[in-house]
Symmetry: C2
Subunit: 269 residues, 2 copies
């Protein structure tokens, strides 16, 4: 199996289903940004049913970082409300496996790890509003520079539920001052994809010490006339799951998302 950029280019223009088939058959295991344009991409949390009610309560109480867009039946490997024939064991490019809160490895399918008590929770992702930004001529710096969006631990407390608690992880995108209002309005249209920003301006206000030293992803420069704007990030639930030290859980690898058949606006739902 090879996963070079030639193959990424080959996938552009294919349908969500065709991309998932390439992933399922082991022909692609890299990031999904820009693939199956217009289709919803999802963060994933796969966890034992014993913790699923508390996790859904946690998501309900923290909808900006954890916007639920799909929940599987217990033990059902298919995400039936998000599309046709979406096998959660094979259709995501890369998964991360955690045991007792410790990251134990990244794998390209979880068929051998599947259990009858697992519940999959799919969460919206920032690709949705980034696509809307690009369509509205609001530049997205990390995409222009082919980097991963910078992500930061913040001091913004989350509302706990059972063992799930902690602080929000935020992404930062530099926005030109005259487009700030548009950026709030446009991302606000997508509550299922983190919605409007959580803050803008001084990173210290939300407990970020140094914008040039993100906790995940790559730093991007804030240019003259731009303001750093912060959004709730889908890494938050991963972080919270890890801190909860569940005996067993699985997430997607950042950037390696589930691509659904439903549209990213959810207008067909």
């Amino acid at each position: 199996m090879s996963s070079d950029t030639t193959i990424y280019q080959d996938l552009r223009g294919l349908s969500a289903r065709e991309v998932r088939m390439a992933i399922r058959e082991g022909r692609y295991d890299r990031h999904t940004a820009g693939l199956a344009a217009g289709k919803l991409q999802c963060n994933l949390a796969i966890l034992p049913e014993a913790h699923a009610l508390d996790f859904l309560r946690f998501c309900q109480r923290n909808p900006k970082p954890c916007p639920v867009v799909g929940v599987s039946d217990t033990g059902d490997a298919f995400m039936r409300t998000l599309g046709d024939d979406i096998d959660i064991r094979t259709d995501v490019p890369r998964y991360r496996v955690f045991r007792d809160g410790v990251f134990t490895g990244e794998v390209t399918n979880i068929t051998d790890l599947w259990r009858d008590d697992l519940v999959t929770v799919a969460l919206g992702c920032s690709f949705t509003f980034e696509n809307a930004f690009i369509a509205n001529d609001i530049p997205v710096r990390h995409i222009e520079q082919d980097k991963t969006v910078p992500m930061y631990k913040t001091n913004v407390a989350l509302t706990p539920a059972g063992v799930f608690a902690g602080e929000m992880v935020a992404t930062m995108r530099p926005i030109r001052e005259d487009r700030i209002e548009d950026a709030y309005r446009i991302s606000g249209r997508f509550p299922h994809a983190h919605g409007a920003p959580i803050a803008m301006g001084d990173p210290a206000d939300i407990g970020i010490a140094d914008l040039n030293a993100p906790d995940w992803g790559d730093p991007v420069a804030v240019e003259d006339g731009e303001i750093p704007v912060y959004w709730a990030c889908g890494v938050t639930p991963q972080n919270v799951l890890m801190n909860a030290r569940l005996p067993f859980c699985i997430t997607h690898a950042p950037g390696h998302m589930l691509i659904a058949d439903v549209s990213e606006t959810l207008e067909d739902q």
Copy 2:
């Protein structure tokens, strides 16, 4: 205890907390329409934890009739994310109790029925967009005529989850043709309160035989130049709970809602 219209008038202008205290202390047990203006009012489903995960899955899959705005911890009688000191056992004017799917009675508090395994799910309500209609000069006929909104069983299938399944219940409001677009846009701003309409026009399209014979509430006339418009209704989950024949569950009585401290736009969340 008396509950006459004098007392309803006395409650107008009071805060959400003050209204809840009047209800808690047995001074008021009637409908909550128009009380604590601007505050979120909620439909309620109170059910054993054993069924809560499936019920939340059902709500996630059917967000128009079942928009979740709060979920209690198991056995916790307080709705901590919706306000301060909201005791779900006493702060709702009227409750309906169901055993094995059979309605067994309406009560004004559930203190003696409370159990350590109960989970309360709060769902948004159409009062939110009706208030926005009135603020935007879109008349709401049943309010003008001091009636209960007409509610109808439809043939719109819901996406099942576990024992929860069935068809959507819809409300109907006659809207003047030149305000239809506004009505869609304004209600669409409140996905947590049933959102945009599910249909408009011919009632037969969604399986309603006779607009003059609603299954719940009062009929209202559709005048010349008006079109009947249909919204998903918060009676849907009550109906689904009853059909699921749970051993035990409690709902609010229609129109007798929980009044939260958070704003009906959820902008303070």
